[in-house]
Subunit: 460 residues, 2 copies
Amino acid sequence: MASERVSALLTDLYQINMMQAYLDHSETKTAVFEFFVRSLPARRGFLVAAGLEQVLDYLENLRFSAAEIEWLSSTGRFGRNLLDYLAEFRFTGDVHAMPEGTVFFADEPILRVTAPLPEAQLVESRLINILHFQSLVAAKAARVMLAAPGKLIVDFGMRRAHGAEAGLLAARASYIAGFAGTATVLAGQDFGIPLYGTMAHSFIEAFVDETAAFTAFARSRPQNVVLLLDTYDTEAAAHKVVALAPRLKAAGIAIRGVRLDSGDLIALSRRVRNILDAGGLAEVTIFASGGLDEDALAAMTRANAPIDGLGVGTALTTSSDVPTLDCGYKLQEYAGLARRKRSLNKATWPGRKQVWRRYGADGSMAGDILALEGYQKAGTPLIEQVMQAGRRLQPPPSLDDTRRRAKHDLELLPSPLRRLDPGMTYRVEVADELKALAAEVDRRTQEKTAPPLDSAATAR
Amino acid sequence: MASERVSALLTDLYQINMMQAYLDHSETKTAVFEFFVRSLPARRGFLVAAGLEQVLDYLENLRFSAAEIEWLSSTGRFGRNLLDYLAEFRFTGDVHAMPEGTVFFADEPILRVTAPLPEAQLVESRLINILHFQSLVAAKAARVMLAAPGKLIVDFGMRRAHGAEAGLLAARASYIAGFAGTATVLAGQDFGIPLYGTMAHSFIEAFVDETAAFTAFARSRPQNVVLLLDTYDTEAAAHKVVALAPRLKAAGIAIRGVRLDSGDLIALSRRVRNILDAGGLAEVTIFASGGLDEDALAAMTRANAPIDGLGVGTALTTSSDVPTLDCGYKLQEYAGLARRKRSLNKATWPGRKQVWRRYGADGSMAGDILALEGYQKAGTPLIEQVMQAGRRLQPPPSLDDTRRRAKHDLELLPSPLRRLDPGMTYRVEVADELKALAAEVDRRTQEKTAPPLDSAATAR
């Protein structure tokens, strides 16, 4: 949970294996790792950076408890030197990052860790785990927002999110991207996100009939009377709402809205709107939910369906059409020398990098440059230092500030990227000095990685 | 985290809204809810039940802390009667369930909660959150196992799982379904799952060349020397392993294996196998990883690729082709009367149910019957009581026992269901008494849910 300490053992075994070898061989010099997405998946013209605050919380609080050290010792896998090192472990490195809410593209690092090699290595697994998921959901949420401009959109998806933390952090990521709030109560307590929620079908079923259920709910929740219509027959239930409204009004209770959760939501919303309007309930809003995604919302927008608010659940919290990003956290420099792997389709750009963004005459994003740090380019640099020697440089920004940043960035997207099927690939140019560095790194490692003569002679 | 308390506020706001109304209106009689999957998604001929132990942990330990009650109070949404009730909240109900590791199909409940309505309602969100994810991943893992018979298969997917708990519980669910172990260290501590892991590309890059990196690793991890070959050039690296082996052997260190993580793994495994064999390293195993899923494994199996072990990551822990199940936790009985909703495409089978499974002459599964509890059918009943009055009836089974149950069930699957594209739909018959009950419930609710005459007359 974001609000609780996550065990330091939430990492991959190979990180600890490698730490053992780094310590044994004194490979503890400064390493630079960057997190980036290698390529954008289908139907994603952009992504939205999210998760940085959870990363910084993790790095500031990362400790091995005595019980964890004892358990590691009991496995018999590790030397005393490593166990002593872990018992005293603190993250002492620097972090540079794009602020949360920033729109980003393939190959652009959104986070850089500069730290002694064993520290930077250990944190890899959890850093990816945090940044991958929240950026994935923030991008999905941004698509949902773009599909239904002006609507009130709420996260309903905790129950089918992948575990507790996914449910909680999906509420956060979608709020950053513009959602009005969430149904997840813990996200209200932990992050101050506005909460939404009314009733389930089980509530209706527990009462003798719908009118009894509606009445009971209205008397218990008089400030928030939103009535669920589709338990048995949506239109019949709408007529009951009309019949009930005067009696509630006499008791000083106004019906705020109704919710539709199944069937043809566009057609039903029209019929229910007509029933409500004819019954003098023009001010009662219609909220729709039930298996919705950005395509369903776009269809409602095109049809101009009389729907005021929308609950988006499973499709959001699992990013169901694209549940993963091809991302990595890769060593780009060690002991003062730039590094990269050359694995097929997985080669990276070496060195410490900055991303510069240019804007057109109309203010919209006009292209980025991926450059080496220290080179001045046209535009605005997106990566800034946020942690020094293991401590945050600034207190966390408010979630509402982060949300404003995302709104600003999404408004500046080129219009072809605002479509659900993006009509262009945003231009990210690789600076000449970076290409030159990559070539230099490859020359250096190629000399060292040719097959040894004796082995090649015997086996080939 | 499974090893830590998850906040009672990890629920949907509407659950607490409904609890307020249930208390206000004394609707606290016994309710029966069941969790089931409505329909199997594409390419899934069966599912595997998982998550029950986390559900029972949750129910046994569910409490609202003083700080949580205070926060709920501070929202101004809830009455003192509800806050006092929550401050004393304990789950006091019964649970019936299929044991973890049981193969199940659409419409079959795998868990039933029988409890006072507010209790059974509150726990809905988290119960779905747990059962949905683990059953989803267990089914995915079973497919991976079926695709590569006899191979050692390891979960590598924590980093791209959706948050901390998903990473941890995916290790558990995949171990239940037959995986040999996981890379996630915390799953070793929490669940005793065997751990696997060697080195990353960053390790290779940090050393002056591959031979130096291999040597350093072998000296630090002499019992577990598995060397990563694809950082720069896989075949060149294999030759270096051959050249290095005699020197390590002289130091008493045996190379156990090599790992390939990119490129055409089938072709590379053959070339690397040849290089190793020609170099006298026939006993060195080949481990493959990198974007693998069950289809990639099936292709390796068909090609008879010389691969001994496999790491499956992102595709497993996100169930990437099918990241969600259409599942629900639905009210089936309240105050002694069977209930169901009739929402379009979401109608459920009412009442407390049992699933009976028959087996054919060859021992394989031959069809299930979905019946009302208390009716005797042919075959073996799958649902048993596991919790009474809020306490487990038995200590949790060992994970290895659960794993044996899954293995047994997967072996008894009809062979068309063992294919990645299932060649049949397993037969689940609905018992006559259950159909009769559904019709009776509908008659009862239809009488009560016809539109009121006055409203229908004016608006239609």
